[in-house]
């Protein structure tokens, strides 16, 4: 088995679709999601991966399998350790390049080789016994097995071990008297600090304050250190000779395939790190069942991932909702009170499809989704409200552009369309847009105040953001499939204030 990349199967690297962030990422809050995922991984330049949805279901499954394997703590731990060791190796190679003292620089190089060999061996051992099934990680395991048994790695590993052993055997003494320094080999002189500790240990009891002065981590050797080291190289020519020979022979030791793996796997690690607090907060995450043509689009207990990431940090509860497009159903029209969770629901639907097309886990307990070509969003932008006519024109222009591009594989998320005009106009225009949207074959979510749009029937499904029946001031953030009924909310609110017809009669007669 050949190993190509942990991101894509052999024989087909996905072209990078977007050099820039897709327009709809801001509306869906995905800009924050990507920023959080890639934070601390800037050197790997991962963002464009998140801007490039996969075009083939087989490629989505390739990544999903890797995610599934990484759900095993041992596998994930092994990959994390490997990545951490490679990062350390890079820093050590930087040191080897920048340190002026010859023997010091070369020791840094040896450290880098040690980090690398240790990392490769550890990953090989971990994967050898790991319960992995993904083509990506199984391919990597095959590659590692051959590589580690091969002559190049075997020699590298043996020689770095020998070089270190020689240096470890160096024990020396420095005698300082006045300004004169004499360097010599060590002959078993007793440690005076130990003598003192032994002398006073009968007073031991309280854990004494640590008086050890922290070793200052100066990156460059001072001249006394350098002078001592230069004399040690002469006193111990075998050890230092072995180090020089090692460095000369292995000037370019890291394997390019493994280095590329370490970069690419950051995609997975970043996503998993992002999901960790969400999972810890008790929210479900799943790998969706992705197909080319979705006969039924379903997500159970779905939620807005960006909002959830924010809320779990504050300890607040996150409400989940089901998303369901039955056979023949194309558009979910969501009505209900302000701040009742309508927009959050709409974002959720967009995020599910975007994340699924990247091969990532999605914010739901279970999901079955079509592989979409594009996600379109139209959200009200605050600045558009300032100038009404300009706002309406702009709305229409943007919607038109979406309708022109949407295909039967697209998802369209519309939020409060035409809010800058009268309700009657908005209803009329909205119906017209919905009609065209349905004809494009796309599926979508349409958030509106207008009950009329929710009762168009056919492929249009009405959802309502619920309020608490007992305390209308409290939103449940649950979005239920039922007939739009804007007045139910008003009646509940009236009851809350004792202003229903019955209550008013009672109050007036008593």
């Amino acid at each position: 088995m050949t190993f190509h990349s942990i991101l894509d199967p052999p024989g087909g690297t996905e072209p990078v679709g977007h050099a820039a962030q897709p327009d709809h990422f801001v509306d869906l809050g995905l800009d924050h999601v990507v920023a959080a995922i890639t934070a601390g991984r800037e050197d790997y330049d991962l963002q464009s991966l998140f801007w490039s949805p996969l075009g083939r279901v087989s490629h989505v499954r390739y990544r999903q399998e890797v995610f599934a394997d990484l759900a095993d703590e041992r596998v994930l731990g092994a990959v994390r350790s490997f990545s951490a060791a490679v990062v350390t190796m890079r820093r050590q190679l930087d040191q080897a390049r920048s340190q002026p003292e010859h023997h010091h620089s070369r020791a840094w190089f040896l450290c880098a080789a040690e980090s690398y060999c240790g990392a490769v061996r550890a990953l090989t051992d971990a994967l050898a016994s790991a319960p992995i099934v993904s083509a990506g990680l199984v391919g990597l395991r095959g590659f590692l097995g051959e590589h580690v048994a091969g002559p190049t790695f075997t020699a590298l590993d043996a020689e770095r071990t020998a070089a270190r052993a020689a240096l470890r055997s160096v024990r020396y003494c420095v005698h300082v008297q006045g300004l004169r320094v004499r360097v010599s080999s060590h002959a078993g002189e007793e440690d005076y600090g130990e003598t003192m500790i032994a002398l006073f240990e009968r007073f031991a009891g309280a854990p004494a304050e640590d008086h050890r002065v922290a070793a200052t981590d100066r990156s460059f050797m001072d001249r006394v250190e350098a002078a001592v080291l230069e004399r040690l190289a002469r006193l111990f020519p075998d050890a230092f000779g072995a180090l020089d020979a090692f460095c000369d022979r292995w000037a370019t030791f890291p394997d390019p395939t493994l280095i590329a793996f370490e970069r690419d796997v950051q995609f997975y690690l970043g996503v998993l790190d992002y999901l960790l607090p969400i999972r810890t907060g008790g929210l479900p995450v799943c790998l969706p069942d992705v197909s080319d043509v979705a006969t039924e689009t379903t997500a159970v207990d779905a939620y807005d991932i960006a909002l959830a990431h924010h809320l779990v940090a504050t300890g607040a509860m996150v409400v989940t909702n089901d998303v369901h497009f039955g056979p023949g159903e194309q558009l979910l029209v969501v009505t209900g009170p302000n701040h009742g969770g309508k927009t959050t629901f709409a974002r959720t639907v967009g995020q599910l499809h975007d994340l699924a097309a990247l091969g990532c886990p999605v914010p739901a307990r279970a999901a079955s989704l079509g592989l979409v070509d594009r996600v379109f969003t139209h959200f009200v932008h605050q600045e558009n409200l300032a100038e009404q006519r300009g706002g309406l024109a702009d709305d229409l222009a943007r919607v038109h552009a979406i309708l022109r591009s949407a295909t039967s594989r697209s998802v369209v998320v519309v939020n409060e369309l035409f809010s800058s005009t009268t309700a009657a106009d908005a209803a009329l225009l909205g119906s017209a847009v919905i009609d065209r949207l349905l004809r494009s074959g796309a599926i979508g979510v349409y958030v509106t105040f207008l009950d009329e749009l929710a009762s168009l029937g056919g492929p249009v499904v009405s959802l309502v953001a619920e309020v608490d029946r007992h305390d209308v001031a409290a939103r449940t953030f649950r979005v239920e499939r039922r007939q739009a009924d804007g007045r139910a909310y008003a009646i509940a609110l009236a009851a809350h204030h004792g202003l229903t017809a019955d209550r008013l009669r009672q109050r007036l007669t008593s």
């Binding site: 300082v176 002959a187 005076y192």
Partner: protein
Amino acid sequence: MHPTEDFRIGSEPDEHATAVVADLGLGAVLDAMSGGDPFFLGVATAAVLSGLDDPGAIAYRQDVLRDCMADPGSVRVLYDLAVAALEVQRKVWRPYARSPESVLRWGVESLGMLMESLRELRRFATDHAGELSSAGFRRFFAVVGEELDDAYLDEVTAHLDRLGFRQGMLLGADLGPTNRGAHHTVRVPAGSRLTIGQRLGLGARRGLSFTIAERDEAGIRALGQLKDRGVAGLADAVSRSVDHVVGFFECLRTELAFHLGCCSLAARLDRSVPRCFPTVVSADQSYLSGRTLCDPGLALRLDGPVVGNDLQADGRALVVVTGANQGGKSTWLRSVGIAQLLAQAGMFVTAESWTTSVRRGVFTHFAREEDTAMVGGKLDEELLRMSGIVDLLAPGSMVLSNESFASTNEREGSEIARQVFTALAASGVTVLAVTHLFELADGLNRQDDPTVLFLRAVREEDGRRPFRLVEAEPLPTSYGRELFEREFGVRPDGAPTLGGLGAAPEKLADRPACPDARQAGSARRRDLRGTP
């Protein structure tokens, strides 16, 4: 202070401990122990608030305290010796810029002074070994005699001399991962068999030398750093030694301050106030009994004799105290709480005799006078405070409740209190509750639970209060209206009715008091039952 553990003063008392001190009136006791010395006050507070839970350790400390109370003068001499030794911390300033070399110099000088104090301590031990004979003192003198013998002290002094490095500094090292010198340690040239030349590596071994130019400032600085790396370990060892010896004297001073504080308390209490070393048994048995228990705080405040009460509450999980206002209920509750704290601190208690079990913490839930203004949030505050206490409780804890949940109407207050107290008692917490919630007390009484004890503050026929508590079931009303009448000269008409009991208690209270309070109680109850 303890057969196996050093005594330490922990952090500042927390909110709960502060409440215990205030509610029990412990301040007077702690002040008497401190004699105005803030250090003594800190020690006394820590010792009383963090008692021991092992009866053996408590007996051990009681024995030491008996020794000290028999000869406070010698203990004072020993205490002064410890204080003098600790003067080293003031005389030798710990270096601010902590280079290893300066730390080493500080350590050597401090140790030199501490050695003198150790020699004095040894002389004291030799002189007083016969007089202070408790296990604690015997052990202390044995340690001082064996561990600090002259040969040892001389050896230490000799080592301190050698730390001057008059013959240069010999450092051992190896190579770290990046070929920098690592594990620098000061080395003792190997044995006296070697000549000076051999010690310095001039003999058989090959060596290479270099010299820093006198005007090479960077080089001289670097050389200083090399030496600092070398002495870092040694400076650390010497400093730890200083800390150990200082810690030893601090420990001694702290422990003696506690015992001297107990001696002061005994001296400050009126001669008529009884005192005894209590019998403290393990937590798995439930004991709480004795004769003539007094509130030492009250005795100190009055500076004279106070009334004591006998108690027999062995095996009781809940003690409910009712009866006359200003009849000594709160004082009694404080006396039990203080006795529990003092007993577990290994101290004497103010009683003729006292037996108690080790309890896992003493907690107080007292009605807060200052809260009466904020009517709205008061029950809320009380519930919050009780909830905070419950967070800290464990089976074996002791809760002292004084008029808890009186901030709402009697029906609600009784129901809350009943649920709280019975639940706590059932889970192994000893609850002592002073209450005037009749519905609570009466309801508990009707349950005939043998683990519940009812006490009542006595009121004589002529209305006088002898501040005594007797075992007696609760009466349906307190004597507050009478106190009101006496104070205001009028009857408290328009006083709040007693919650859900309706008019009945009102009517009953108007009846002339029965000669026998106990009879009166049952008579009233019959009447109550007869009320439609």
